[in-house]
């Protein structure tokens, strides 16, 4: 594997309140190669956003806590940095795009000023003219007329706002961009525009990316690698080929694919996954997916499965213990 830009090793995060302890992320490993895009897929509450926030040390101070693990960015552990050091990284080397463009912009500042803020923060001593020039450059890059920089966020539509947010994130040419559901709040045609733009910019600037999404369609379009997250664990990871074309899958991944209504074929019923995600304050002792799994065996309820590897592909399921071929052939028809 080529050089890594981000290497997360055994990261665990808890949210602790007086009443309960929520195990949001439980010992995950994630690696992003230079210039690659990793898609982190999972449903609400799987811990995707928590993972992203802990990379940038943005967890809520009073409740969120990293209990173990390292997050190495180009070899340095981000988690050991102090507030001053991490501020240099945030927005400079690692930038983040949040899900909701409506709430991530300041309503009382012009968009130009908001982009300038990021540029000034990380480039002291730029002249006013140079800053203006950069703002224009960034806005043009995301397809907004530079003359609109004096406008306020409410004068922009949802798709345009998300473009502004992306322009802000890319203002300092970060090495890694974390995009947390960047297109979920947008209409399909606008989503397509924004995705194409992200893809094009990424290829041009060579930015690495962590793309958090619940939409497997988005993953298929722009990611190189995929990690499937469920109840705070990575249950399956691999290249897009492993996940979309490979034969062996974690039953949860299988269920996810079965749950999406297919555009090209018509099925009578969707193969939904019964039940709900386990309560993160009270995770099952064995496999976290066991209560919903149709292949659940005795061992699944008792023993927590280990990750098994096959070159680029990794799985966390007892069905694949010691081998990556499954003996049972049932349920192979999860996708065409």
């Amino acid at each position: 594997m080529n050089e890594l830009i981000l290497d997360i090793d055994d990261l665990s995060v808890i949210y602790k309140t007086d009443l309960e302890t929520v195990k949001a992320v439980n010992g995950i490993n994630l690696k992003i190669g230079k210039g690659k895009t990793l898609g982190l897929v999972g449903e609400t509450g799987a811990g995707k956003t928590t993972t992203a926030l802990s990379i940038l040390k943005l967890l809520p101070e009073n409740t969120g806590k990293v209990t173990s693990g390292n997050v190495k960015f180009e070899g340095t552990n981000l988690l050991e940095m102090n507030e001053h050091e991490i501020r240099e990284i945030r927005g400079g080397q690692i930038a983040m795009v949040f899900q909701d463009p409506m709430t991530s912009l300041n309503p009382v500042m012009t968009v130009g000023d908001q982009i300038a803020e990021a540029i000034i923060m990380h480039n002291e001593g730029l002249s006013k003219g140079e800053i203006e020039k950069r703002i224009d450059e960034k806005l043009t890059m995301v397809g907004i007329l530079p003359s609109r920089k004096t406008e306020y966020p409410h004068q922009f539509s949802g798709g345009m706002k998300q473009r502004v947010v992306i322009a802000m994130a890319l203002a300092c040419e970060p090495k890694l961009l974390i995009a947390d559901e960047p297109t979920t709040a947008l209409d399909v045609t606008i989503q397509a525009q924004v995705l194409m733009m992200i893809k094009e910019l990424r290829n041009r600037l060579g930015t690495s990316m962590l793309m958090i999404t619940h939409d497997l369609g988005v993953v298929a379009k722009i990611c190189d690698d995929v990690a499937v997250m469920y109840a705070g664990e990575i249950v399956e990871a691999g290249t897009v080929h492993d996940i979309f074309l490979g034969e062996d899958h974690h039953p949860y991944t299988e269920g996810l694919f079965g749950s999406i209504p297919n555009l090209s074929s018509r099925t009578k019923r969707l193969n939904s996954i019964p039940g709900l995600m386990p309560d993160p304050t009270n995770l099952p002792e064995g496999c976290i997916f066991a209560p919903r799994c149709k292949y659940c065996m005795d061992i699944c309820i008792r023993v927590h499965p280990n990750t098994v590897f096959d070159e680029t592909h990794s799985l966390k399921c007892h069905l694949f213990d010691g081998k990556l071929r499954r003996d049972k052939q049932e349920g192979k028809s999860e996708k065409q």
Binding site: E43, T44, S157, G159, M160, D187, V188, T189, I190, Q191, A192, Q193, L195, M196, H214, D215, L216, G217, V218, V219, A220, K221, V240, H241, F244, L245, G255, L256, F257, G258, S259, I260, P261, N262, L263, S264, R266, T267, K268, R269, L270, N271, S272, I273, P274, L276, K335
Partner: protein, 328 residues
């Protein structure tokens, strides 16, 4: 496709809803929709946010009063009938709302929410029968009876949506408007609810109008699909026909914009539609889509295209299609 040419269960004729804004401007939310929904059909209404699809759903139930046009239920006009009669009608015509978090009273228990409509309409003479029926409805939609005294905040989105469905079913309706019933839910839960809606359709012989922005969902559940753009119907056809043979440039673009979970199409460019939906306020004559359309020509900005039947039960509102037809 069902070709039962009896009376449509619901029919709208030139249905319009204009919202008056400050300063006399008018917002054309629903602008002349003719739609026939036959018993047993599921009609999907798709479009982007702001195209008027939810307003259409609500106007059909007279939750929003139409500005002009008619709504026929079983052949009789329900636009002019009194509020009292309309209330009677509502037993047959129900709606499932988008957001299971805000459409349910937070201070009522699950069983009371489901029983509420039956009390209002005095379906049963006594409380016991009503609650028994409510409990049956819980079984029907797959809600465990142990939740009957829970409150909405204790339940997750999927279960809340099941309450919404049970409530809509409580009066044995014939027709249900489903207004984005799964868009607030996760995919695995979404699949559960879609399966449930389809099972109920079969079991109870329901007719749905399914309003959504998600084309794959609409394809999965509908027999007929109507594509809306800025208050107008741009294309209407049976589900299979629409996906195999889309004619209107907007429908084509919409279908191409969906990212499919299939990596063989990875390097295919999305066919992008330029720009964004224009304002529905004081619209000028001409095709609503003209500004974003790649094939726009003079006539498109001068006059309104009409909905024409290009092939059996396939209606398109585009001059291009008309033109091609003549040339052929």
């Amino acid at each position: 496709m069902k070709n039962n040419k009896s009376t449509p269960l619901i029919e709208t004729i030139g249905l319009r809803k204009l919202f008056k804004l400050n300063g006399g401007a008018r917002l054309h939310a629903v602008d002349g929709i003719n739609l026939k929904i036959y018993p047993g059909e599921t009609v999907g209404v798709v479009g982007e946010s702001g195209c008027g699809k939810s307003t259409l759903g609500r106007t059909i139930l007279r939750l929003i009063e139409p500005t002009s046009g008619q709504i026929l239920y079983n052949g009789s006009d329900i636009t002019k009938i009194s509020a009292g009669k309309m209330r009677e009608m509502r037993k047959d015509l129900q709606i499932i709302f988008q957001d299971p978090y805000s459409s349910i009273d937070p201070r009522k228990s699950v069983i009371d929410i489901i029983a509420e409509y039956m009390f209002i309409h005095k379906v049963y003479k006594n409380k016991i029968d009503t609650y028994n029926r409510a409990a049956e409805l819980m079984d029907l939609v797959g809600l465990a009876r142990r939740y009957s005294s829970s409150y909405a905040h204790e339940l997750d989105g999927g279960r809340r949506q099941r309450i919404g469905i049970a409530r809509a079913l409580s009066l044995n309706p014939k027709f249900i408007v489903c207004d984005e019933p799964v868009s607030a839910l996760d995919v695995s839960i979404q699949a559960q609810i879609l399966n449930l809606l389809m099972d109920l359709e079969e079991e109870l012989g329901l007719t749905y109008m399914f309003v959504t922005h998600n084309l794959s969902v609409v394809k999965h559940i509908s027999t007929k699909i109507m594509v809306m753009y800025l208050g107008k119907c741009v294309e209407m056809a049976s589900s299979d026909e629409l996906f195999q043979n889309p004619m209107h440039p907007y429908t084509k673009a919409l279908l191409k914009a969906i990212p499919e979970p299939d990596i063989s199409k990875r390097d295919e460019e999305f066919a992008l539609i330029k720009g964004e939906v224009s304002s529905p306020i004081n619209v000028k004559p001409g095709c609503r889509f003209a500004k974003r359309c790649d094939f726009c020509f003079d006539r498109c900005i001068q006059e309104d295209p009409n909905l024409t039947e290009v092939s059996y039960e396939h209606f398109v509102s585009c001059f291009l299609v008309e033109k091609n037809k003549v040339e052929k």
